[in-house]
Amino acid sequence: MKAWMPTLLLLAVGSALAAPITMEDQSQLTVPPAQNAAQFAPPAEGELPDNAFGKLVREGHALFVDTRRLMPDAVGNGMNCSNCHLDQGRLAHSAPMWGAYPMYPAYRKKNDKVNTYAERIQGCFQFSMNGKPPAADSPQMTALSAYAYWLSTKAPTGVELAGRGYPDVPQPQGGYDFKRGQQVYREQCAICHGDEGEGQKVAGEYVMPPLWGKDSYNWGAGMHRINTAASFIKYNMPLGKPGSLSDQQAWDVAAWINRHERPQDPRLVEGSVEKTRLKFHANDGVNLYGQKVEGVLIGQGTGG
């Protein structure tokens, strides 16, 4: 009796979640709540000195906003850094670089060690960009780090500044719903990201990023968590209209986006989605990896 009760419950609540979920995910660092208005302002472009340091920062900026085109060996999909870190990594509540850089080195449960800032960026390349991270001492990583360092000018180190990360959006009482999410997607997102999440290109380069499929973030990226995507969406989307979706709509549409296939988690354990789920996804926020949705196993990857 006890053994099949959870199954019944699961069936009864549909997409709502049955088990308590560990929400401390990606990083052990915490994000101040959204009502804490950001006080920190990164330096203006005009303040950049015209010397060797300024030149390196400019190179880092170029890589940050045009990553895919300038680092084709490191980026394996259609994403740029600036797709998830809006306004060139400057915008509060959009995981700004000035909120991240001064917090490293820091312990991350994701790889169970203390990570330098360069190692943190390598994670972005491996997962969010589904690529091959450049070496920590490569000129590109040095330039990207210099850009983040410059944006953090006069920020205190080791202080969780208001505006860092994406503020948490609590999961609504009734969970989330794919059908409602699909409707939100059609009405608010498809105009830019396409009916099938495919993004939009001009002259072969993505202008609006793909949200699922082979050119999107992979199953190991933080954005594959519904809670993380809901937070990003609520505070940043649609572009220019942040905060226009309700918490419920943000969760619904995040669930709709993240029920679609994307490149496989590069940490795939012995070729098994189930083993990978147990090792990396079972306690990683709210995600669908390795679960069945409408009878189909999620997390099979897009192949190739």
């Binding site: 472009e45 005009g46 950049l48 920062v57 400019r58 900026h61 170029a62 890589l63 906003v65 045009d66 300038l70 600036s82 809006l86 306004d87 060139q88 400057r90 915008l91 009405e187 608010q188 105009i191 830019c192 939009q200 001009v202 002259a203 380069e205 202008v207 609006m208 649609p238 572009l239 220019g240 209209k241 942040p242």
Partner: protein, 216 residues
């Protein structure tokens, strides 16, 4: 045959006529539609469809067909206002709108200048065009309208190569509410957040490919 039935048959023939003949987009562009009130596009938009900058008549060549067709339908229903285009669009049939939109979309426009995003923009107009001003929830123009304002998909028309006076008039139309046919109201908020000076400067920025601020 009674006179009445002649009228009925005649009307039926007239109604059926446009259906029987696929509308010719090129012909509408050069000579106008079947209704004489649907004047030829080239009269105002130029023989190459690239507009007449001095008069503020916009470029149509190479604009997305879906966008053009939406504008013509919006003029018909009055959801976009313009004293010349409203009666003209009402004189076009559905088929003619479809045909002339795809013909215009197939006409070559001047390519957008290759303004890449990787430069740090220190002057305020380039900054607004490339990156926006997030303290006012203004995305960079090119984030939706594509690199250099080349246009993206069916909903985000090119800004590059449009006359400055046309771009300025549209931005001001959204600001004062006289234009409001943007999908999901994506443009109205942006335009309303802009200042008078920014409207002028941004219109110049995209109208003029030789702008000294545009360094690829």
């Amino acid at each position: 045959m009674t006179p009445l039935s002649r009228v009925v048959i005649g009307s039926a023939l007239i109604l059926a006529w446009p259906m029987a003949h696929a509308a010719d987009g090129q012909k509408i562009f050069t000579q106008g539609g079947s209704n004489p009130a649907a004047m030829a596009c080239l009269g105002c938009h130029g023989p190459d469809g690239k507009g007449i900058a001095a008069a503020g008549f916009p470029r149509l060549a190479g604009l997305p067909a879906g966008y053009l067709s939406k504008q013509l339908h919006d003029w018909r229903t009055g959801s976009r206002k313009q004293p010349v285009m409203e009666p003209l669009a009402k004189a076009l049939t559905d088929d003619e709108i479809k045909a002339v939109s795809s013909y215009l979309a197939s006409m070559p426009g001047d390519p957008a200048p290759t303004v890449r995003r990787q430069q740090i923009a220190s002057d305020p107009t380039t900054r607004l065009a490339l990156y926006g001003d997030w303290s006012r929830q203004i995305p960079g123009c090119v984030q939706c309208h594509g690199p250099g304002g080349s246009g993206v998909g069916e909903h985000f028309p090119p800004l590059a190569g449009q006359p400055a006076s046309y771009l300025e008039a549209q931005l001001n139309g959204w600001r004062d509410g006289s234009r409001s046919n943007d999908p999901n109201q994506l443009m109205v908020g942006v335009a309303k957040a802009m200042t008078d000076d920014e409207v002028v400067a941004i219109a110049e920025f995209f109208a003029n490919p030789a702008s000294p601020e545009v360094k690829p």
